[in-house]
């Protein structure tokens, strides 16, 4: 009997509380800090060049083998030529971020990546750079 009354008052109080569910495409919540989304290549803001030097540590650390890097020899130094990432394979584990010694790669908060075509999930160097807005957690409330 006591349990019934307790349940009744909990249900009654819930009528005046804010619903927990959101109507996804129209309403969105702020995603949690530290959430792992699409990887992003960082830029050096002084020179506006990609920080990555193509050392291939992230390629070695990736458990899904979704990263492939090509180096180029330029001006007496090795530099990054191609950086390909297959998002269809990526599990967003973050191993590449941990493996990078010069902090050239990080995970953005972008997670809406549904595509009809598998080829569209294959990101190149420039695709991974153009994601500055997805570093802000509440970008979707705008």
């Amino acid at each position: 009997m006591i349990r019934i009354f307790k349940n009744f008052f909990i249900n009654f109080a819930n009528l005046f509380r804010k619903p927990r569910t959101v109507l996804y495409p129209r309403e969105k919540i702020i995603i949690y800090e530290g959430s792992r989304g699409k990887p992003k290549l960082k830029l050096n803001f002084d020179t506006l060049e990609i920080i990555c030097n193509g050392c291939r540590k992230c390629e070695a650390a990736c458990p899904q083998n979704c990263i492939s890097i090509k180096k180029e020899f330029k001006d007496g130094n090795y530099g990054l030529d191609e950086f390909n990432l297959n998002l269809g394979l990526c599990s967003f584990c973050g191993n590449c971020v941990e493996a990078c010694s010069i902090h050239a790669i990080e995970l953005s908060y972008r997670y809406q990546m549904a595509e009809y075509d598998l080829e569209a999930l294959k990101a190149e160097k420039l695709d991974l750079v153009k994601q500055a807005e997805y570093l802000i957690r509440d970008f979707w409330i705008k």
Binding site: R3, I4, F5, N7, F8, N11, F12, N14, L15, R17, K18, P19, R20, T21, L23, R26, E27
Partner: protein, 311 residues
């Protein structure tokens, strides 16, 4: 004849509007008590959703059982004797309460029969279980109604309501009200208001989108729920008596929706009482003794008042 047709039209209109409001209210209450939003966020708060959800049943047809048709027809016929408000009834008789109860008992029997039929044969064990379950709910309800009849010395709804112009019957019959309320709450739970447990529902309508038989079953279930709440309203809560400046019709609506909201919330809260045996135990050990005590007290008061003129 025209007046009669007009009355029938009004009653059907009121029942239709009520059906819409109640199905909307029920969905909202059930969902908000679970911290959900209820109907999908269509424009105007999902106001059109009850229509669209009823339309989806028509998409696929299933054969009716004879009991489903009986239930559907009788749940509509029931409203010819039960007044929604003052003057909103078709058959004006001084024994309306008796007719309404007889029709309701017939409906319950049809429901038990419809549940007891499997797709191909009649299941006796299921029938016996359901009969004992429904009797355990019906007998206390009838006893508490009998107490009201003794109190008001009438079987006419109008006289019962008019006798409450000063004090509602709930004051004289608190135990009877409690028994009646618990009984109708459990009956409504059996009729599956929130579509969770399925005791008094036939096998062929449990599946999603099973066609028009589900729609009619849902419709008749709602009409029976309206009847039970209206009966509670008339017998215990003063019916269409006006309160200060508020007119009778508005009072009926306020009381109806308030009781419905409480029932919908309580129906969610008593999810623990789900097995048939537990329910029968509860009814025979709690409801039946209480209703007998209530009836005995009422009879004693009746004798002291009308035979010995003591009170």
């Amino acid at each position: 004849m025209l007046v009669l047709l007009q009355k029938i039209g009004y009653i059907i209109l009121i029942l239709g509007v009520n059906l819409y409001i109640v199905s909307f209210l029920n969905n909202k209450i059930v969902s908000r008590s679970e911290l959900r939003r209820g109907y999908k966020g269509y424009k105007k708060g999902g106001a059109v959703f009850p229509f669209s959800s009823s339309l989806k049943y028509i998409a696929k047809g299933t054969p009716f059982s004879i009991w489903d048709i009986f239930i559907f027809v009788f749940s509509i016929v029931l409203w010819s004797v039960v007044p929604i408000s003052y003057n909103y009834y078709i058959i004006d008789s001084s024994h309306n309460l008796f007719f309404a109860l007889v029709l309701y008992i017939m409906l319950v029997i049809f429901k038990v029969f419809s549940v007891s039929y499997s797709k191909y044969y009649f299941v006796i064990s299921s029938f016996v279980k359901r009969i004992s379950q429904t009797l355990s709910l019906l007998i206390p309800l009838l006893f508490s109604v009998l107490a009201i009849i003794i109190l008001n010395k009438s079987l006419d709804f109008k006289i019962i309501v008019n006798s409450q112009y000063q004090v509602w019957n709930i004051v004289y019959q608190p135990i009877g009200f409690a028994v009646f309320f618990i009984s109708i709450l459990l009956q409504i739970k059996l009729m599956n208001l929130s579509e969770y447990n399925q005791f008094l529902i036939t096998d062929n309508i449990n599946k999603e989108g099973e066609g028009i038989s589900r729609l009619t079953s849902r419709f008749s279930n709602y009409l029976i729920i309206f009847f039970l709440i209206s009966l509670l309203n008339i017998l215990y809560l003063g019916g269409w008596q006006k309160l200060y400046m508020i007119s009778g019709n508005i009072m009926v609506a306020i009381k109806f929706y308030a009781v419905f909201a409480i029932v919908a919330l309580l129906e969610r809260s008593i999810s623990g009482i789900s097995s048939i045996s537990r329910l029968i135990n509860l009814n025979y050990k709690l409801l039946l003794p209480l209703s007998i005590v209530n009836l005995a007290i009422t009879i004693v008061f009746f004798i002291l008042r009308n035979v010995y003129f003591i009170i």
